[in-house]
Symmetry: C2
Subunit: 151 residues, 2 copies
Protein backbone atom coordinates (compact mmCIF):
# COMPACT_ATOMS: atom_id res chain seq x y z
CA UNK A 1 0.00 0.00 0.00
CA UNK A 2 2.22 2.77 1.18
CA UNK A 3 4.72 2.74 -1.61
CA UNK A 4 4.25 6.46 -2.01
CA UNK A 5 7.03 8.63 -0.70
CA UNK A 6 10.17 6.79 0.36
CA UNK A 7 12.52 8.94 -1.58
CA UNK A 8 12.54 12.65 -0.94
CA UNK A 9 14.05 12.20 2.52
CA UNK A 10 16.57 14.81 3.58
CA UNK A 11 14.53 17.86 4.38
CA UNK A 12 16.16 21.19 3.68
CA UNK A 13 19.05 21.99 5.91
CA UNK A 14 18.42 23.92 9.10
CA UNK A 15 20.88 26.67 8.51
CA UNK A 16 21.60 30.15 9.81
CA UNK A 17 22.40 31.30 6.33
CA UNK A 18 18.99 30.21 5.08
CA UNK A 19 17.22 31.78 8.03
CA UNK A 20 19.03 35.05 7.54
CA UNK A 21 18.26 35.07 3.85
CA UNK A 22 14.62 34.52 4.65
CA UNK A 23 14.76 38.03 6.09
CA UNK A 24 17.28 39.89 4.01
CA UNK A 25 17.80 37.63 1.01
CA UNK A 26 16.46 40.18 -1.33
CA UNK A 27 18.13 42.93 -3.25
CA UNK A 28 15.89 45.72 -2.02
CA UNK A 29 15.98 44.69 1.62
CA UNK A 30 19.74 44.82 1.80
CA UNK A 31 19.91 48.02 -0.21
CA UNK A 32 17.49 49.63 2.21
CA UNK A 33 19.81 48.66 5.04
CA UNK A 34 22.75 50.02 3.07
CA UNK A 35 20.97 53.36 2.70
CA UNK A 36 20.39 53.64 6.39
CA UNK A 37 24.10 53.03 6.91
CA UNK A 38 24.65 55.90 4.51
CA UNK A 39 22.47 58.04 6.74
CA UNK A 40 19.42 58.20 4.52
CA UNK A 41 16.58 57.30 6.79
CA UNK A 42 13.56 58.58 4.91
CA UNK A 43 11.30 56.83 2.51
CA UNK A 44 11.49 59.19 -0.44
CA UNK A 45 15.22 59.56 -0.25
CA UNK A 46 15.60 55.78 -0.15
CA UNK A 47 13.37 55.35 -3.17
CA UNK A 48 15.59 57.76 -5.08
CA UNK A 49 18.94 56.36 -4.02
CA UNK A 50 18.00 52.71 -4.31
CA UNK A 51 15.82 52.87 -7.40
CA UNK A 52 13.26 50.47 -5.99
CA UNK A 53 9.54 50.66 -6.75
CA UNK A 54 7.91 52.57 -3.92
CA UNK A 55 5.55 49.72 -3.36
CA UNK A 56 8.19 47.11 -2.99
CA UNK A 57 10.33 49.27 -0.76
CA UNK A 58 7.36 49.95 1.52
CA UNK A 59 6.81 46.20 1.83
CA UNK A 60 10.47 45.52 2.56
CA UNK A 61 10.66 48.20 5.21
CA UNK A 62 7.68 46.62 6.93
CA UNK A 63 9.44 43.26 6.93
CA UNK A 64 12.67 44.75 8.23
CA UNK A 65 10.87 46.58 11.02
CA UNK A 66 9.00 43.39 11.85
CA UNK A 67 12.25 41.48 11.99
CA UNK A 68 13.77 43.98 14.40
CA UNK A 69 16.41 45.15 11.96
CA UNK A 70 15.04 48.66 11.61
CA UNK A 71 12.81 50.69 13.80
CA UNK A 72 10.34 53.24 12.57
CA UNK A 73 10.56 56.52 14.33
CA UNK A 74 8.12 59.39 14.02
CA UNK A 75 9.89 62.71 13.60
CA UNK A 76 6.89 64.86 12.82
CA UNK A 77 3.48 64.82 14.43
CA UNK A 78 1.26 66.66 12.18
CA UNK A 79 1.84 65.51 8.84
CA UNK A 80 2.90 62.22 10.36
CA UNK A 81 6.40 61.52 9.09
CA UNK A 82 8.75 58.66 9.83
CA UNK A 83 12.40 57.77 9.73
CA UNK A 84 14.00 54.38 9.81
CA UNK A 85 16.82 53.69 12.21
CA UNK A 86 19.02 50.66 12.65
CA UNK A 87 18.57 48.55 15.72
CA UNK A 88 21.52 46.69 17.14
CA UNK A 89 20.60 43.73 14.98
CA UNK A 90 20.57 46.05 12.01
CA UNK A 91 23.97 47.49 12.82
CA UNK A 92 25.28 43.94 13.02
CA UNK A 93 24.44 43.53 9.36
CA UNK A 94 27.30 45.87 8.54
CA UNK A 95 29.73 42.99 8.03
CA UNK A 96 27.36 41.47 5.48
CA UNK A 97 27.20 44.72 3.54
CA UNK A 98 30.97 45.09 3.69
CA UNK A 99 31.68 41.61 2.37
CA UNK A 100 29.22 42.08 -0.46
CA UNK A 101 30.82 45.39 -1.23
CA UNK A 102 34.28 43.94 -1.26
CA UNK A 103 33.23 41.17 -3.63
CA UNK A 104 31.69 43.70 -5.99
CA UNK A 105 34.77 45.92 -5.76
CA UNK A 106 36.89 42.94 -6.73
CA UNK A 107 34.81 41.41 -9.49
CA UNK A 108 32.46 44.03 -10.80
CA UNK A 109 34.31 47.33 -10.67
CA UNK A 110 34.66 49.10 -13.99
CA UNK A 111 37.77 50.70 -15.42
CA UNK A 112 37.68 53.56 -12.97
CA UNK A 113 37.67 51.41 -9.89
CA UNK A 114 35.08 50.89 -7.18
CA UNK A 115 32.34 53.51 -7.12
CA UNK A 116 32.79 54.11 -3.41
CA UNK A 117 35.75 53.83 -1.12
CA UNK A 118 35.44 53.79 2.64
CA UNK A 119 38.07 55.02 5.01
CA UNK A 120 38.56 53.21 8.27
CA UNK A 121 39.08 55.19 11.42
CA UNK A 122 42.69 53.96 11.45
CA UNK A 123 43.26 56.23 8.46
CA UNK A 124 43.59 53.59 5.76
CA UNK A 125 41.13 52.90 2.96
CA UNK A 126 38.98 50.08 4.23
CA UNK A 127 39.37 46.63 2.79
CA UNK A 128 37.09 44.29 4.66
CA UNK A 129 38.62 40.98 5.61
CA UNK A 130 37.01 38.07 7.39
CA UNK A 131 39.12 36.47 10.09
CA UNK A 132 38.66 33.82 12.74
CA UNK A 133 37.91 35.67 15.94
CA UNK A 134 39.95 33.19 17.95
CA UNK A 135 43.23 33.21 16.05
CA UNK A 136 42.92 36.30 13.90
CA UNK A 137 43.87 34.47 10.72
CA UNK A 138 41.94 35.15 7.51
CA UNK A 139 39.36 32.51 6.74
CA UNK A 140 39.44 30.96 3.32
CA UNK A 141 37.18 28.45 1.64
CA UNK A 142 39.17 25.41 2.73
CA UNK A 143 40.16 26.51 6.21
CA UNK A 144 36.94 25.73 8.05
CA UNK A 145 35.06 22.48 8.42
CA UNK A 146 31.84 21.43 10.10
CA UNK A 147 32.57 20.64 13.73
CA UNK A 148 31.53 17.20 15.03
CA UNK A 149 29.97 16.57 11.62
CA UNK A 150 26.50 15.05 11.71
CA UNK A 151 25.22 13.58 14.94
Amino acid sequence: MLRVMASLSVQPRACSVARTLELVGDKWALLAVREVFHGNRRFDEMVRRIGAPRDTLAARLRTLVGAGILKRHQYSEHPPRFEYHLTEAGRDLYPVILTLMRWGDTYLAGADGPPLTLRHQCGHPLTAQVVCEACGEPVTAGSAKPATAAR
Copy 2:
Protein backbone atom coordinates in the same frame (compact mmCIF):
# COMPACT_ATOMS: atom_id res chain seq x y z
CA MET B 1 4.36 73.04 -21.30
CA LEU B 2 7.12 70.94 -19.91
CA ARG B 3 6.12 71.06 -16.32
CA VAL B 4 6.42 67.30 -16.22
CA MET B 5 9.45 65.90 -14.46
CA ALA B 6 11.66 68.36 -12.57
CA SER B 7 11.89 66.35 -9.42
CA LEU B 8 13.18 62.77 -9.57
CA SER B 9 16.86 63.78 -9.95
CA VAL B 10 19.41 61.65 -8.12
CA GLN B 11 19.63 58.43 -10.04
CA PRO B 12 20.23 55.27 -8.04
CA ARG B 13 23.64 55.00 -6.50
CA ALA B 14 26.38 53.23 -8.41
CA CYS B 15 27.37 50.75 -5.76
CA SER B 16 29.28 47.52 -5.49
CA VAL B 17 26.73 46.20 -3.04
CA ALA B 18 23.94 46.76 -5.55
CA ARG B 19 25.91 45.20 -8.37
CA THR B 20 26.73 42.16 -6.32
CA LEU B 21 23.13 41.76 -5.25
CA GLU B 22 22.10 41.91 -8.87
CA LEU B 23 23.86 38.56 -9.17
CA VAL B 24 23.42 36.88 -5.83
CA GLY B 25 20.73 38.97 -4.16
CA ASP B 26 18.39 36.08 -4.02
CA LYS B 27 17.83 33.43 -1.44
CA TRP B 28 18.24 30.47 -3.76
CA ALA B 29 21.35 31.77 -5.47
CA LEU B 30 23.25 32.17 -2.25
CA LEU B 31 21.97 28.86 -0.89
CA ALA B 32 23.19 27.13 -4.03
CA VAL B 33 26.61 28.60 -3.40
CA ARG B 34 26.41 27.48 0.22
CA GLU B 35 25.69 23.93 -0.89
CA VAL B 36 28.69 23.85 -3.12
CA PHE B 37 30.78 24.98 -0.16
CA HIS B 38 29.28 22.04 1.69
CA GLY B 39 30.52 19.80 -1.10
CA ASN B 40 27.17 19.09 -2.72
CA ARG B 41 27.75 19.78 -6.35
CA ARG B 42 24.88 17.98 -8.02
CA PHE B 43 21.53 19.25 -9.04
CA ASP B 44 19.30 16.72 -7.31
CA GLU B 45 21.23 16.85 -4.08
CA MET B 46 21.00 20.64 -4.08
CA VAL B 47 17.29 20.54 -4.66
CA ARG B 48 16.92 18.33 -1.62
CA ARG B 49 19.22 20.22 0.72
CA ILE B 50 18.08 23.68 -0.28
CA GLY B 51 14.38 23.01 -0.74
CA ALA B 52 14.16 25.15 -3.86
CA PRO B 53 11.80 24.43 -6.75
CA ARG B 54 13.76 22.55 -9.41
CA ASP B 55 12.86 25.11 -12.00
CA THR B 56 14.04 28.04 -9.99
CA LEU B 57 17.25 26.34 -8.97
CA ALA B 58 17.99 25.46 -12.59
CA ALA B 59 17.53 29.11 -13.52
CA ARG B 60 19.76 30.32 -10.69
CA LEU B 61 22.51 27.88 -11.55
CA ARG B 62 22.46 29.19 -15.10
CA THR B 63 22.85 32.74 -13.83
CA LEU B 64 25.66 31.78 -11.49
CA VAL B 65 27.51 29.95 -14.23
CA GLY B 66 26.98 32.92 -16.54
CA ALA B 67 28.35 35.25 -13.87
CA GLY B 68 31.47 33.14 -13.46
CA ILE B 69 30.70 32.15 -9.90
CA LEU B 70 30.19 28.48 -10.65
CA LYS B 71 31.36 26.34 -13.49
CA ARG B 72 29.46 23.40 -14.87
CA HIS B 73 31.54 20.31 -15.26
CA GLN B 74 30.49 17.12 -16.99
CA TYR B 75 31.37 14.06 -14.96
CA SER B 76 29.55 11.44 -17.03
CA GLU B 77 29.41 11.14 -20.80
CA HIS B 78 26.62 8.85 -21.50
CA PRO B 79 23.79 9.85 -19.52
CA PRO B 80 25.23 13.34 -19.58
CA ARG B 81 25.67 14.41 -15.98
CA PHE B 82 27.02 17.60 -14.52
CA GLU B 83 28.51 18.97 -11.36
CA TYR B 84 28.87 22.57 -10.28
CA HIS B 85 32.19 23.78 -8.98
CA LEU B 86 33.21 27.09 -7.49
CA THR B 87 35.43 29.35 -9.51
CA GLU B 88 37.80 31.68 -7.73
CA ALA B 89 35.10 34.34 -7.76
CA GLY B 90 32.77 31.79 -6.20
CA ARG B 91 35.22 30.87 -3.47
CA ASP B 92 35.55 34.57 -2.72
CA LEU B 93 31.89 34.60 -1.74
CA TYR B 94 32.79 32.58 1.33
CA PRO B 95 33.09 35.71 3.49
CA VAL B 96 29.58 36.71 2.48
CA ILE B 97 28.21 33.33 3.51
CA LEU B 98 30.14 33.45 6.78
CA THR B 99 28.87 36.87 7.76
CA LEU B 100 25.29 35.89 6.96
CA MET B 101 25.78 32.75 9.01
CA ARG B 102 27.16 34.63 11.93
CA TRP B 103 24.25 37.05 11.92
CA GLY B 104 21.78 34.18 11.88
CA ASP B 105 23.68 32.39 14.63
CA THR B 106 23.43 35.52 16.73
CA TYR B 107 19.86 36.58 16.08
CA LEU B 108 17.95 33.59 14.83
CA ALA B 109 19.32 30.57 16.64
CA GLY B 110 16.80 28.62 18.68
CA ALA B 111 17.18 27.34 22.21
CA ASP B 112 19.66 24.66 21.20
CA GLY B 113 22.07 27.04 19.56
CA PRO B 114 23.18 27.41 15.98
CA PRO B 115 22.32 24.49 13.73
CA LEU B 116 25.86 24.22 12.43
CA THR B 117 29.21 25.05 13.93
CA LEU B 118 32.35 25.34 11.88
CA ARG B 119 35.81 24.64 13.17
CA HIS B 120 38.64 26.74 11.92
CA GLN B 121 41.93 25.07 11.05
CA CYS B 122 43.43 26.75 14.11
CA GLY B 123 41.37 24.38 16.22
CA HIS B 124 38.82 26.82 17.56
CA PRO B 125 35.16 26.97 16.66
CA LEU B 126 34.91 29.57 13.96
CA THR B 127 33.39 32.93 14.71
CA ALA B 128 33.69 35.10 11.65
CA GLN B 129 34.80 38.63 12.27
CA VAL B 130 35.26 41.43 9.81
CA VAL B 131 38.40 43.50 10.27
CA CYS B 132 40.18 46.27 8.42
CA GLU B 133 42.88 44.59 6.40
CA ALA B 134 45.26 47.44 7.06
CA CYS B 135 45.12 47.70 10.83
CA GLY B 136 43.50 44.44 11.82
CA GLU B 137 40.90 46.13 14.00
CA PRO B 138 37.27 44.96 13.86
CA VAL B 139 35.07 47.18 11.74
CA THR B 140 31.89 48.46 13.31
CA ALA B 141 29.05 50.53 11.94
CA GLY B 142 30.53 53.87 12.94
CA SER B 143 34.18 53.17 12.25
CA ALA B 144 34.22 53.69 8.51
CA LYS B 145 33.27 56.70 6.44
CA PRO B 146 33.14 57.45 2.74
CA ALA B 147 36.56 58.62 1.60
CA THR B 148 36.73 61.99 -0.18
CA ALA B 149 32.96 62.18 0.15
CA ALA B 150 31.03 63.14 -2.97
CA ARG B 151 32.79 64.71 -5.90
